[in-house]
Symmetry: C2
Subunit: 249 residues, 2 copies
DNA sequence: CTCTTGCCTTGACCAAAATCAACCCAGTTT
DNA sequence: AAACTGGGTTGATTTTGGTCAAGGCAAGAG
């Protein structure tokens, strides 16, 4: 939901790819000198599972690029429940819009699969965006895209039931043009997927069983085999205003 | 969730307020000549309840300013269910970010309480934003704020139960500094509020009864009386990562 | 190789919300 | 005044998901 990468696409600019940030459409709009400056100010650090980078409302000094591993963005209610807003893989950035968010993180961030992150100063990015109209426009495009994703997320959490939300999650793991049978494996713990989809682990487990019965997909451990994409799509996307492939990735 | 107005605040700029758009922080950043041009291109039209302005994925030629009445933004799933993203009062705009959303509306819009809207061409706004860095920055601020609202909306729809969502809705109707007893009345039909909060009308009705029992608020028709704000706040905001007043308005 | 641990599943039960149906009630219409 | 209408409530029931408790299973530790 946050920052779209394009690892599978060509970098838009004609410039050769030199920096990790280059893999992002947004940073492809950067002139070479600014990108170098930004890159040089980055600090790459390895993290282990469970480490908390920051919590909601912390003053936002850094934004992060995920080099490897997985990061969850979450909120915690006063009575201790957690809501996961998104779980991000390598190639995504987060915290990059905090200069427009009162300088504080609107969510907490925690490493859910060990990996490396590079931290860049928000202030530097803010200077770049404020000083360069093209960058501001690129960022507008970037945030507007995130916005549409969030609209979709609101829709999902409002009308899709548990099996459908799982089906939608699986479909978004599929590359757009794959011929059946599609085999994929779950990218992180089922408990985490459950929370990402706004349900309890037990509900996830049962809903997954239900999804197998109803759509003929096969699940063994973390491996999923989809023989009949159409059946899965019909089952899940009828409860959504968009239909697969819903231009996610 | 969409466009924050500041009818209750002073317009930020030193310029006298001449145009409806002036009431918005975002448009306060406009230089006088551009604002006049935009204003001159607007078309004000009266609408009756139930009129549909556009539906999701329609090409977006206009954005709208609500002069009076109420407008709902919604999506419709393939099997005919409706999800309301937001219901907006006078002073708000919508469709103003479509130049960054593939030129199409990411939601439908329907008049839910009769009133006047002024339509302005998206292309003109797009030109302004592309040609003026300050406007781009103002729009970034504007979109980022909408983004945070959507994060909150996701949180609400994920962990709050029905009475709490209603409590939250009521609290957001309260001006920040009101001394009890606070009396307010529901701004539009209960059925619509129910849908806005992602629940059925029957559930809304029962949850409202429940909310009265649990927090001591009194409801007669569309009139709500809150004697004990603290009790209502405790009841609803414990299921949220923010606490009233959660800097909404 | 056994023990522990974390993750996942399953069962029994409960709570919340949706559904279906009937009815109420105030404001219009006829 | 009687009938109609739309919005709202209420009751009965079903469905869905949450909760609590127990157990399974595989990977890693000792």
């Amino acid at each position: 939901m946050t920052c779209q990468n394009n690892q599978t696409h060509q970098v838009k600019s004609s410039r050769e790819q030199h920096y990790p940030l280059d893999t992002l459409d947004f940073f492809a709009a950067f002139p070479a000198d600014l990108l170098k400056k930004l890159h040089d100010s980055g600090r790459r650090v390895s993290y282990t599972k469970g480490q908390v980078l920051f919590t909601q409302d912390d003053p936002a000094e850094w934004f992060y690029m995920i080099e490897s591993g997985w990061v969850k963005l979450f909120r915690e209610t006063l009575d201790g429940d957690e809501v996961i807003l998104d779980v991000l893989p390598a190639g995504y950035v987060f915290g990059e819009t905090t200069m427009f968010e009162n300088g504080a993180y609107p969510y907490g961030a925690e490493i859910v699969e060990a990996g490396d992150l590079t931290a860049y100063p928000v202030a530097l990015l803010a200077d770049c965006v404020r000083g360069n109209g093209d960058l501001a426009l690129a960022m507008l495009q970037h945030i507007a895209t995130k916005n549409m994703m969030k609209d979709r997320e609101i829709e999902h959490r409002t009308i899709m039931n548990a099996p459908q939300r799982i089906g939608c999650f699986l479909l978004r793991l599929c590359k757009v043009k794959q011929t059946p049978p599609v085999v994929l494996h779950l990218p992180y713990d089922k408990t985490l997927i459950a929370s990402r989809l706004g349900m309890q682990p037990e509900t996830f487990s049962r809903a997954l069983t239900r999804l197998q019965q109803d759509t003929g997909i096969k699940i063994k451990g973390a491996t999923v085999e989809i023989d009949n994409m159409g059946k899965l799509i019909t089952y899940t996307c009828t409860a959504c205003s968009n239909v697969f492939p819903c231009d996610n990735e």
